[in-house]
């Protein structure tokens, strides 16, 4: 597995995909801060977890799930799945390696996004004479945001392995997260909080009493996505 993980890491670092996606996450972090800096005094006075720049978690998850999806679907789009599975015919091991590498890359990208957000927010607030206090809830949001980033990328690998078609996987994920899930959530009432997008968001932002439940729920989604990705990859032909 160590060899295959090295191989997956090299795939990730020898094209521009991960660099552009990281740039996108950092860019969104800066946009989030900008949106607050132009806001009212009331906006500044809100607790950190309620301020607008937490929209970062809403949009950065899209880029992080794309990372995972592309780690699989690029292989089929460009035909590199053939040499990959010839060199490593144990497909379960290949998917597991992709999940681990995607998860680690997602953690790093999300951490960079959070660092960019808090760093620039501190500077902007300071220039406006406001004090940005991180506090315990802020720290939890920071840690949760990074954790959610890693899990979103891991889930993306599972989605990509099941769907394989890059456009369908990416567009389908976006439509679900940005539109369909909200409709389903409203219909589900209290149970709507257990939907994947909600669980991911809550991993970063839920109040204390719900946070652990959110993290466990989201980890279960990542494990289920990984298991489905392994199953579909094992049983289907590599044409």
């Amino acid at each position: 597995m160590k060899n295959q993980m090295r191989s997956e890491l090299r795939k990730l670092t020898t094209t521009r995909t991960v660099r552009w996606l990281t740039l996108g996450v950092v860019g969104m972090a800066l946009m989030a801060v900008t949106s607050v800096s132009g806001g009212s005094a009331a906006e500044y006075a809100k607790p950190l977890t309620e301020q607008q720049f937490f929209f970062l978690n809403t949009f950065s998850r899209l880029l992080l799930i794309v990372l995972g999806i592309r780690m699989v679907t690029d292989e089929f789009r460009y035909g590199t799945a053939v040499p990959t599975f010839i060199a490593a015919p144990n497909r379960t091991l290949v998917v597991a390696s992709k999940v681990v590498v995607a998860g680690a890359a997602g953690l790093v990208m999300a951490a960079l996004g959070q660092a960019a957000m808090f760093g620039s927010a501190t500077a902007v607030f300071s220039m406006n004479g406001q004090e940005l206090e991180l506090g315990a809830r802020g720290v939890q949001g920071l840690v949760g945001g990074v954790l959610a980033g890693g899990l979103w990328a891991a889930i993306g690998v599972g989605v990509g392995a099941v769907v394989r078609n890059q456009v369908v996987a990416i567009v389908g994920s976006f439509v679900w997260l940005m539109a369909l899930e909200e409709i389903v959530r409203v219909k589900m009432g209290d149970l709507g909080g257990f939907l994947p997008g909600q669980a991911g968001f809550a991993t970063a932002l839920a109040p204390d009493e719900y946070w652990l439940t959110a993290v466990v729920t989201f980890v279960v989604y990542a494990l289920v996505a990984t298991a489905l990705g392994m199953l579909f990859t094992r049983v289907r032909d590599v044409a």
């Binding site: 060899n3 295959q4 191989s7 090299r10 020898t14 590199t80 040499p83 990959t84 010839i86 044409a239």
Partner: protein, 246 residues
């Protein structure tokens, strides 16, 4: 005879592969022996590529077995060192550099990275190591595909139309290389439409049509059995009735 040569290099028995009720490969049986180059011939759509993909574990058989050195490919302990394969020309990320492409697979197989430079030099692509693959010609991609196949210094080479896009010098190099490779006690299974090329390098040929075995024989015996002055191309066309490609 070494341990890995106790079994046939490749052994296909009663192999059938269907897609939506259509039989791409139909009860196919043949062997690839050590120390030989085996030409795998058949008209377009005969089932050659599908057969090679089943041998390499990329597709599951509907029935029958395909074994490499006595085992299913997916059960080989070190597949990357046992078998090198080139199946299609478009197996590259266009934005990845040539050397980086190889380093992806040296890592997967567990090889020293210097092996990437060795095989690049072997296929005469050392000067293009830092070029992005999107700028490669078809011939260069074929050479890089061969380099990928050779990374693990394998005992068996399985190549699907490796001469596609090669210039005359490249084809001569390939011919010489494959003969030398088999001469070292290893084995080559090579599919090709270039019958003239196959007749020059193949010790035996396996001819299939509509997924079924037409004949497996020594190349020289096959030509000797045919009418006077016949080439392998004549024999192939007689066997498969492929008038359309004359």
């Amino acid at each position: 005879m070494s341990q890995h040569q106790a079994d046939a290099a490749v052994e296909v028995e009663g192999l059938t592969k269907t897609f939506d009720d259509e039989r791409a490969v139909d009860d196919l049986t043949f062997r690839v022996e050590w120390n030989e180059v085996t030409g795998f011939l058949g008209p377009n759509g005969a089932g050659k590529s599908t057969t090679l993909k089943v041998i390499l574990g990329l597709m599951g058989p509907t029935a029958g077995t395909a074994r490499v050195a006595g085992r299913e490919y997916v059960r080989l302990s070190e597949p990357g060192r046992a078998v090198g394969a080139l199946l299609e020309t478009q197996q590259f990320h266009p934005l990845r550099r040539a050397r980086d492409h190889l380093l992806v697979y040296t890592a997967a197989i567990g090889l020293d990275d210097r092996r990437a430079d060795e095989v690049l030099d072997l296929v005469e692509l050392g000067g293009a190591a830092r070029k992005k693959l999107g700028s490669f010609s078809l011939g260069m991609k074929q050479r890089l595909g061969l380099a990928t196949a050779l990374l693990g210094d394998p005992h068996i080479l399985i190549l699907d139309e490796p001469a596609n896009g090669l210039d005359p010098a490249g084809m001569r190099w390939l011919r010489s290389f494959l003969r030398g490779f088999a001469g070292e006690g290893r084995a080559v299974l090579v599919s090709s439409h270039l019958l003239g090329e196959v007749s020059q390098i193949a010790d035996q040929v396996v001819v299939i049509d509509h997924g079924r075995l037409v004949v497996q024989a020594k190349t020289s015996e096959l030509i000797a059995r045919a009418r006077d002055g016949a080439t392998l191309e004549d024999v192939f066309l007689d066997l498969t009735g492929s008038e359309a490609i004359r």
